[in-house]
Point group: C2
Chain length 381, copies 2
């Protein structure tokens, strides 16, 4: 099933592009979420880089995106290569299970239940594209063998920001084309620091990056069993999706807001792992999650000898006796940001909102977004 | 000579409004210096508050201002009560000796050498206007008795930000209407912390706020002796000032840039004190210098229970887990400043420049201005 150009003709990639990314406020906004930004200054936004990576594995016409109606136009503008039919829009976000299930039902209807669907988030950074492709090749092989297959990221530190995957036995001859694949014993939630340290010591735990690769029919059958209401809704929607635009729109408006909002990990991955139905392929391709300003800073080069990181135009930031800051000068043309004797701060300047916080509080920026909402400042969220 | 309304008919007040205030950058700019701002939210700018205070003592028509040509229009707009003839403009700043000397020469020419000229900076905050008036009354009396008279501010802490005045013997019957006046033994420059502590212990030292009150003739004679070149220039200018506008303009353009640039303390007060010609009246009227953001913060009430100080509209600043900050939200309409977990910072937001620094570095903001100039960013200075 592998094509001569190295792509997998039975693989369809899905990019769920839904999260607002409120830990990256005020750069990331509900009206313009983080996946539309080029945080790393690479010249490609998060969703563009994700599209490029997946198109290289599955082919342009095999990449699909699920996003909010409010962001469909922006996604279309950023991804001219994306087939219009492969852009799925939801009127309201219903979390990852519903998004993946709907896309899978549509793809199964179009291409058959044997196609493999691979879901990869729009806000991840992957450094080694070749290693990623090899890893996906094994995940596709394990998926073909009937497993819902995840990719386990090598844990390089005792992070408390990620969930973990506990590995089981090798699949061995159950999936010969996936020599590194193992079963998954369990998915575990974000641990505290001590628990995370313990995970790292055992060598049995990897980070859960929320990547899932599976045959469409396997996922749909699992949903029919574990989440029948979601299954019924998405298959009903898939039945009309391509043939009757009016009816699709009417059904989405009517049915979608009532769909259960539940993460894929909880609805599918955890219960199925307990049954032995989930496999894991180890990923060693250099992975990072663009979760907060600290994680962005870790991925961009220093602008000077004092480890200041600039997200954007360095020429607009002047640092005097200042070290280790993360500065985003996005406030508009002609603004200069001057730091004097400031260390380890996050300073994010946008046209209508400025954030100042210590880097150590990066994870808590989400709380600021909540506080602003409490004060009725939704316009800047 | 005291009028029935409590004013002194022979007193002319001078407000030298020259300094840029680069420690208050980016609020204070070369094009719009600090005296044009209402840092305290009192409803009156620094120069307006100074005018009000001096007009109450000397009368509206006895208040004069010396400022840069570039700021004359702004001063005129802020002080509609200021007589047009009492606004003196210099094409370039030549420090305080030249400014006070020129104004004094003009006033002597207009009103005679016996009038008393009192020079009071435009960036001071005085809390007790009645005490100030009583103090000025004694200073005027000492000035009439022939002394160049300064006002010595009660030192309430061992500040290293001010110069000090060392007091001498009481004037006693040499100026009966100035019962608290003493001679000045010496003016001393800004001390280090240990020296300042020593000054405070002796009880003989007061802060030098740069206030000087003297008979016009006494100052002009002193200048003729100690700074003859300055004396010649200002008397030549005063001779044509009111009678020949074209010639005044031509002479100012030609002569003023060549005038020696020297502070009044060095040129007049120190050498004259050594000769016994300077008196000091103690001032206990609650005085503060608006020198940097820390000193502004000390003068405004906290916006919340965590001692955050807002220079401007409180509604535009949101502080979460943040204490002791000084925030100026002057970036324009519709901008919100959000502080998360930030303590003891100065955050000054203006339309084209943002400053972030620890409060403890407030005095060094001047260095930032110099660094920006080095980088060719004069447009925002």
């Amino acid at each position: 099933m592998q094509q001569t150009d190295g792509r997998f003709s039975d693989l369809y990639a899905l990019i769920p592009a839904g999260g607002v990314g409120s830990r990256l406020w005020p750069l990331s906004r509900s009206a313009r979420p983080k996946f539309l930004y080029d945080f790393l200054g690479s010249g490609r936004t998060m969703i563009q880089a994700t599209f490029d990576r997946l198109a290289a594995v599955a082919g342009d016409d095999h990449v699909t995106v699920m996003t909010g109606v409010a962001h469909a136009a922006a996604v279309r503008a950023q991804l001219p290569e994306l087939d219009e039919r492969n852009l799925f829009a939801e009127p309201v976000g219903r979390d990852s299970t519903a998004a993946i299930a709907l896309a899978t039902a549509i793809l199964a209807k179009r291409h058959g239940r044997d196609v493999v669907v691979g879901s990869f988030a729009a806000d991840h950074v992957i450094r080694d594209d070749d290693a990623f492709r090899e890893c996906v090749a094994q995940a596709v092989a394990a998926a073909r063998a009937g497993y819902v297959t995840t990719i386990g990221i090598a844990a390089t530190r005792p992070s408390t920001a990620f969930g973990y995957i506990r590995q089981g036995a090798p699949l061995a001859d159950r999936a010969p084309a996936a020599p590194d694949a193992r079963t998954v014993r369990a998915f575990v939630e974000k641990p505290d620091a001590e628990t995370a340290q313990g995970y790292l010591m055992t060598g049995e735990y990897r980070w859960n990056a929320g990547m899932f690769v599976m045959r469409a029919g396997v996922l749909l059958d699992t949903l029919a069993r574990l989440k029948p209401r979601i299954y019924e809704t998405v298959t009903a929607l898939a039945d009309v999706w391509d043939d009757d635009g009016d009816r699709r729109a009417e059904m989405m408006e009517r049915l979608w807001p009532a769909v259960e909002k539940i993460a894929f990990d909880y609805a599918v991955a955890e219960p199925l792992a307990a049954e032995g139905g989930v496999a894991m392929v180890p990923g060693g391709f250099g992975w990072d999650d663009i979760g907060d300003f600290n994680s962005v800073a870790a991925l961009i080069p220093s602008a000077d000898a004092r480890n200041n990181k600039i997200i954007g135009d360095r020429g607009r930031v002047v640092c005097l006796d200042s070290a280790g800051n993360v500065v985003a000068p996005a406030g508009g043309e002609g603004r200069t940001i001057a730091l004097l004797g400031a260390d380890d701060l996050v300073v994010v300047d946008t046209p209508d909102a400025l954030l100042v916080a210590p880097r150590a509080r990066s994870q808590e920026v989400k709380r600021m977004a909540a506080a602003l909402a409490d004060q009725g400042l939704d316009a800047i969220l």
